[in-house]
């Protein structure tokens, strides 16, 4: 039975990365591809084995939690609870990635200097549920620190976001 999980999807992604290196190596001249090919072939083979293990749902002995099942309703309950737990974990994972995506989006749009206080304020207010004054105070402190680092200490102007570039 094929098991599609986050782990197997990630292994397939890594398989794709190794395959990219192998395919690209084939189009190179003999000298630049010598060492990469020597590494890419076994790496691809190792990840392929891992993918097949993930897809077969291979579990090492001792990793499975033994549960005593008394009736059919327990089976459904166990399944439902495990599904809720998986969904919760996935949700939490998405929240973490979403906050990184927000920071990246802010840098892309607003630039490096304004995004630092804006992100800090949003994080403190929304994720940390901190009060308005404290969030604003910490965000102002972060802006000051960023200003010292990016403007006063750096020799070049910090990255400006797309909004300012579009305006020009």
């Amino acid at each position: 039975v094929t098991r599609w999980t986050g782990g197997s999807a990630f292994s397939i992604f890594l398989l794709g990365v190794a395959a990219f290196f192998l395919i690209q190596s084939l189009s190179l001249n003999p000298i630049p591809r010598l060492v990469p090919l020597f590494i890419a072939v076994p790496t691809l083979a190792l990840i392929a084995v891992q993918v097949s293990l993930d897809l077969r749902g291979n579990e090492r002995p001792g990793t499975r939690v033994e549960t005593t099942v008394f009736s059919a309703s327990d089976v459904y309950r166990e399944k439902a609870l495990s599904r809720i737990d998986t969904l919760r974990q996935t949700g939490r994972k998405h929240i973490g990635l979403m906050w990184l995506a927000i920071m990246f989006g802010l840098i892309y749009l607003l630039g490096l200097l304004p995004s630092a206080p804006v992100y800090s304020f949003l994080y403190l207010k929304v994720r940390g549920r901190t009060n308005w004054s404290l969030s604003a105070g910490i965000a102002a402190g972060i802006w000051l620190l960023s200003y010292v680092l990016l403007v006063l200490l750096s020799n070049s102007a910090p990255y400006r976001g797309k909004i300012w570039i579009w305006q020009q």
């Binding site: 990630f10 292994s11 000298i31 591809r33 590494i39 990840i47 920071m103 490096l112 630092a116 992100y119």
Partner: protein, 506 residues
């Protein structure tokens, strides 16, 4: 041979420890520590900023202030690694492997104190080796050719086998991916671009700072934002934090042979130009794990973890001065800036400097020595306020860590692509951790991969041309034996552990 060296050493000592000359190393150390508290900023940046202001200075104050810039900045990079999982420089990435888990257990005081004491002792070791080698400075650098560096990287790569935990398959595959990623950029021999997807930015290869900050700091921030942890340490009040400064300070003494071995590795790597502190720190970490009792504790907050890379990185500074002063070849980015400053002042490093300006050389050495001790003393004094940061709520700390990591990565080269690279590796690092793929083999392979390929190609070419005979070089043979011993030792240790486990299970 020895008499002029001893005389110059004594004169140099007198100059450094006289008033008001003593002020220069103190001010330089404070400046270097403050500056390098920001991840991404290092003594190299500080030197670049200082060169225009010091052009009119005499050579003696220049040496007195540049010594601390080389040595004083290393320790603070480890502090941010321990507290926030942000390596201040890529060479500090190995410190966080056990340093940050110690902070998570509430033992930030112990980890920082251990780092401070290992830093001072490691640098002292490196400087003692430098002073001992002074009469033979030029000859000692010439021992290391491409084949020796190749075997050194092979030895470093064998440590991956030791460090792999859990699934061996995933560990080896991660190492393979790390090696493949290290090939991104130009081929070292033909300069042909490889795997760059048409991007000019990738032509220089993947920079280690954004990659290591991404894999550990950014991935850590995603984890903090995703998880239910309330503060970095498990404790909510400073008074509840276990572990003490004394335990940390004594750690390198308690594991003295580990400290000496790590310092030897650091000094040797420092002597070889262009290899760098990152390689030294990871080889030393791998070497700490390999012969240790209960190696499974490493990576989970073992007190033996931080001293090995810290001692190696600081010992490297003394070693890096060997090719710089002996041949005029910089052993690291810090010594490259020092070389530039010397040349701008009309001083040519190499034989002329060692003959005509030997006292000046010792002024630099003693200034470096003093600044390393001052850094550790200041570091120990600031252990308590620094460890308080680990009991702050995550809601306050997480955005600050991400902002500092982002700006630190950007400031290193002022390239916005570095930030994107750090974020990509942040997501990769987070997913690797979430799905049980080890990150340490990947980063070690990435660090060593470039040096491995470059020196492999050079060695093959020299061997083919008949310039060297690979198997007749004593240092190469020693390193081959060392690599095989590492693997054999690990194999037998693993078998023994399995037998013991089998007995316990019975």
């Amino acid at each position: 041979v020895f008499e002029p060296v001893f005389r110059a050493a004594w004169e140099g000592w007198g100059i450094v420890f006289s008033w008001p000359n003593l002020l220069y190393p103190v001010v330089g150390t404070v400046l270097a520590m403050t500056f390098s508290a920001v991840p991404g900023l290092s003594g190299v940046t500080l030197m670049a900023l200082a060169i225009p202001f010091t052009l009119t200075w005499d050579p003696v104050p220049l040496m007195l202030i540049f010594g601390p810039f080389i040595g004083g900045a290393t320790f603070m990079g480890s502090v941010t690694a321990i507290l926030f999982n942000i390596p201040g420089r890529s060479s500090c990435a190995a410190v966080l492997l056990d340093g940050h888990p110690l902070a998570q257990q509430g033992k930030a005081k112990t980890a920082i104190a251990c780092s401070a004491s290992s830093s001072a002792l490691g640098s002292t070791f490196g400087i003692l080796v430098l002073v001992a080698l002074m009469p033979f400075l030029r000859e000692s650098t010439l021992f290391f050719g491409p084949s020796e560096i190749l075997m050194l990287t092979v030895w470093g790569l064998t440590t991956i086998a030791v460090l792999v935990r859990g699934s061996v398959l995933k560990g080896l595959a991660a190492a393979g991916l790390g090696l493949l990623l290290s090939f991104v950029g130009q081929d070292p021999r033909t300069a042909e671009s490889r795997y760059i997807l048409g991007s000019l930015y990738l032509r220089d290869g993947l920079d280690l700072l954004p990659v290591s900050v991404g894999l550990f700091a950014v991935a850590g921030v995603i984890e903090l934002a995703a998880g239910g942890r309330r503060m970095i340490s498990e404790k909510s009040r400073f008074e509840q934090l276990p572990g003490g400064v004394r335990e940390g300070v004594l750690a390198p003494w308690r594991h003295f042979s580990l400290f000496v071995r790590s310092s030897v590795i650091g000094t040797l790597v420092g002597i070889i130009p262009g290899v760098g502190g990152t390689v030294a720190s990871f080889i030393a970490y791998g070497h700490a794990v390999q012969p240790a009792k209960a190696p499974e504790n490493f990576g989970k907050g073992d007190i033996r973890g931080p001293p090995a890379p810290e001692a190696a990185v600081d010992a490297k500074d003394g070693g890096a001065l060997v090719p710089t002063l002996g041949l005029g070849i910089p052993g690291s980015s810090g010594t490259a800036m020092l070389l530039l400053a010397l040349i701008l002042h009309g001083i040519t490093p190499g034989r002329a400097m060692l003959t005509n300006n030997l006292t000046l050389v010792f002024v630099l050495i003693w200034s470096l020595f003093l600044s390393n001790w001052l850094t550790s003393i200041f570091g120990l004094a600031s252990v308590s306020p620094l460890s308080r940061l680990t009991v702050l709520p995550i809601a306050f700390v997480a955005p600050i860590i991400l902002v500092l990591a982002t700006e630190g990565v950007y400031l290193a080269k002022t390239q916005i692509e570095d930030v994107a690279l750090a974020y990509v590796f942040g997501v990769l690092g987070y997913l690797m951790k979430a799905h049980g793929w080890p990150r340490i083999p990947l980063i070690i392979a990435l660090v060593l991969g470039r040096a491995f390929e470059r020196n492999l190609q050079l060695t093959l070419q020299l061997h083919r041309l008949g310039r060297i005979y690979f198997w007749s070089r004593p240092l190469v043979l020693s390193l081959i034996i060392l690599s095989l011993t590492t693997l054999a030792f690990h194999y037998f240790q693993d078998r023994k552990a399995r037998k013991v486990q089998g007995v316990l299970e019975l």
